[in-house]
């Protein structure tokens, strides 16, 4: 069963076409790595899926559109590339993770819709976990237990990013969308994060879409790969992408072109 169907989706960013007629689907349990140079439209695509961006075409969650799509959307965990924080915002790490929690009512409604289309939803934290237990466990997963009472604005970029990952996990997502989630995070935490990613993908069958520039990480951890630069020019098994030299060449050239394009704009 497809968790996500993207059909002929086009969208603009700041008046310019950012993605053009993109179509692909994500199956239950996929760990899809999306690669593409800066400005390739990855974030615009994610924002369209999350209902934060106008688009043409069709996007379906578990085959649903419209109000049922909206009912399922809260069960999508999203970690953006960068969150701009008010410097003195008086929210602790615990407060921020707590914001991710969904009321049981919303989870039940979403779970029913998922079951109706023959799919299953596995909770990360177990059926009877209290909200406070979920928060503690999510903090443990990202290794932030000792910083739970610190203000988010006092933390380093990497620690903030881990807090947002915990906030996305605590909602017990059915789909996780991660936009370059480990940018600015040290190697040790990166490795821990990847092992968590694989664990929740394998054990809890959580479908994950993950944008990254790190081809090694994609090759090590993803099960499928999509490659885009405004258009989608590959979507399939990881092995196929990495063994196809022509594709790798096209990706490198496309990345280089985009780099030159951005550079000429800067000049």
């Amino acid at each position: 069963m497809n968790v996500l169907d993207v059909e002929n989706v086009s969208a603009s960013h700041n008046g310019a076409l950012a993605i053009s007629k993109i179509s692909f689907n994500v199956r239950e349990g996929d760990l899809l790595g999306i690669v593409g140079p800066n400005g390739a439209g990855k974030t615009t695509l994610f924002r369209a899926i999350l209902g934060l961006q106008n688009y043409h075409g069709k996007i379906k969650l578990f085959g649903y559109e419209g109000s049922q799509y909206a009912s399922l959307l809260p069960m999508v965990g999203y970690v953006p590339q960068k969150v701009s924080l008010e410097p003195n915002f008086p929210a602790t790490v615990y407060d921020v993770v707590e914001m991710g929690l969904l009321p049981e009512k919303k989870l039940d409604r979403g779970a029913k819709l998922i079951q109706n289309c023959g799919c299953c939803w596995n909770r990360i934290f177990g059926e009877s976990s209290k909200n406070s237990e979920k928060i503690e466990k999510a903090l443990e997963i990202v290794g932030l237990e000792s910083l739970r009472d610190r203000r988010i604005s006092e933390l380093s970029g990497g620690e903030q990013q881990r807090t947002f990952i915990a906030s996305a996990l605590v909602k017990e997502p059915v789909l996780l969308i991660l936009d370059e989630p480990v940018t600015g995070v040290d190697m040790e935490v990166q490795n821990k994060f990847y092992s968590v990613l694989r664990k929740i993908n394998k054990e809890n069958k959580i479908t994950i879409i993950w944008a990254s520039h790190d081809l090694t990480a994609i090759s090590d951890h993803a099960t499928k790969v999509a490659c885009m630069n405004r258009d989608l020019f590959f979507h399939g098994e990881k092995e196929e992408f990495f063994s196809n030299k022509d594709l790798m060449k096209t990706y490198s050239e496309s990345a280089m072109q985009m780099h030159m394009h951005n550079h000429s704009h800067e000049v």
């Binding site: 809260p74 921020v96 914001m99």
Partner: protein
């Protein structure tokens, strides 16, 4: 110093009304400050001034016209801001000047009012009568209860509007509800410190408590405590010293802010945080 004056009815009404307004202001103010809307209260109070002038002009109870004008203006400006994409500070400037402009026109058209305009500009908490006190208590309770009921979605919406939207928080409706609450709070507070000093009560207790480096709940509790303490101290001091209560409330808040900054400089809060971390 004898505290006999505390037994006077007008003093008790002033303290009760002041406390109610102080709690509302601190709570609404924290969200306003965090959304970078610190001067929104000022703009609303100027609109309310226009509303009060309209009430006197039409011979209607001015609090109701002030509420209607500031709530509808606040909603209108929010819509205008969205549709024309003008910046927040420009939207506030539009509200502020149009409210005052409307008030001045109405005052001049009526060739001045018999009421004391000065009391609306700088507050007149000692003149609060029983019916005002009761309606202010009722309105304040409504604002406080609504803020408590919606505290979690409001915090999420203030912290990260997009994530709140993904989580199914009805962001737009919540925004309108919050703006209406802010407008009502301004009406209640206007009697306490007047149109020109409202921002002080919205901003000062919150930026003072934010300096202390606590989480959201504690920051709000500290802010409410500071706001109530400054209001009570300001009103009590104003009587024997024969000062304007609004001025003494605001200056007490300023003193608290400066004191907290000095304490922070002396390392008071960071030492505590460090000690906590080590233990």
């Amino acid at each position: 110093m004898s505290l006999d004056f505390l037994t006077y009815g007008f003093m008790q009404r002033a303290l009760i009304t002041g406390t109610a307004a102080a709690v509302c202001c601190a709570m609404v103010g924290l969200y306003l400050v965090l959304k970078r809307y610190s001067l929104f209260g000022d703009a609303l109070s100027h609109m309310a001034f226009g509303g009060i002038a309209l009430g006197y002009f039409l011979n209607v109870y001015p609090i109701w016209t002030a509420t209607a004008v500031s709530v509808s203006a606040a909603m209108g400006i929010t819509k205008l801001r969205k549709s024309t994409k003008i910046s927040g500070d420009a939207a506030i400037a539009v509200m502020l000047s149009s409210g005052l402009g409307m008030g001045v026109i109405l005052v001049s058209a009526a060739h001045g009012f018999t009421i004391d305009l000065f009391s609306f500009l700088f507050g007149s908490v000692l003149l609060t009568n029983m019916s005002d006190t009761l309606s202010f208590i009722g309105i304040s309770c409504g604002v406080i209860v609504t803020l408590l009921v919606f505290r979690k979605p409001l915090l999420h919406f203030t912290f990260d509007e997009e994530q709140a939207k993904i989580n199914g928080v009805p962001v737009e409706k919540l925004n309108y509800l919050f703006i209406a609450l802010a407008a009502v709070t301004v009406i209640v507070t206007m009697r306490l410190v007047g149109i020109l000093l409202i921002s002080a009560l919205i901003v000062l207790p919150n930026i003072t408590s934010m300096v202390m480096g606590k989480g959201f709940k504690k920051t709000m509790m500290i802010s409410i405590s500071l706001s109530v303490a400054a209001t009570v101290i300001g009103i009590i001091l104003s009587y024997p010293l024969n000062l304007a209560p609004s001025g003494s409330i605001v200056m007490t808040l300023v003193a608290m802010y400066v004191g907290t900054l000095l304490a922070k400089r002396a390392g008071l809060f960071s030492k505590k945080a460090l000690a906590q971390e080590i233990s």
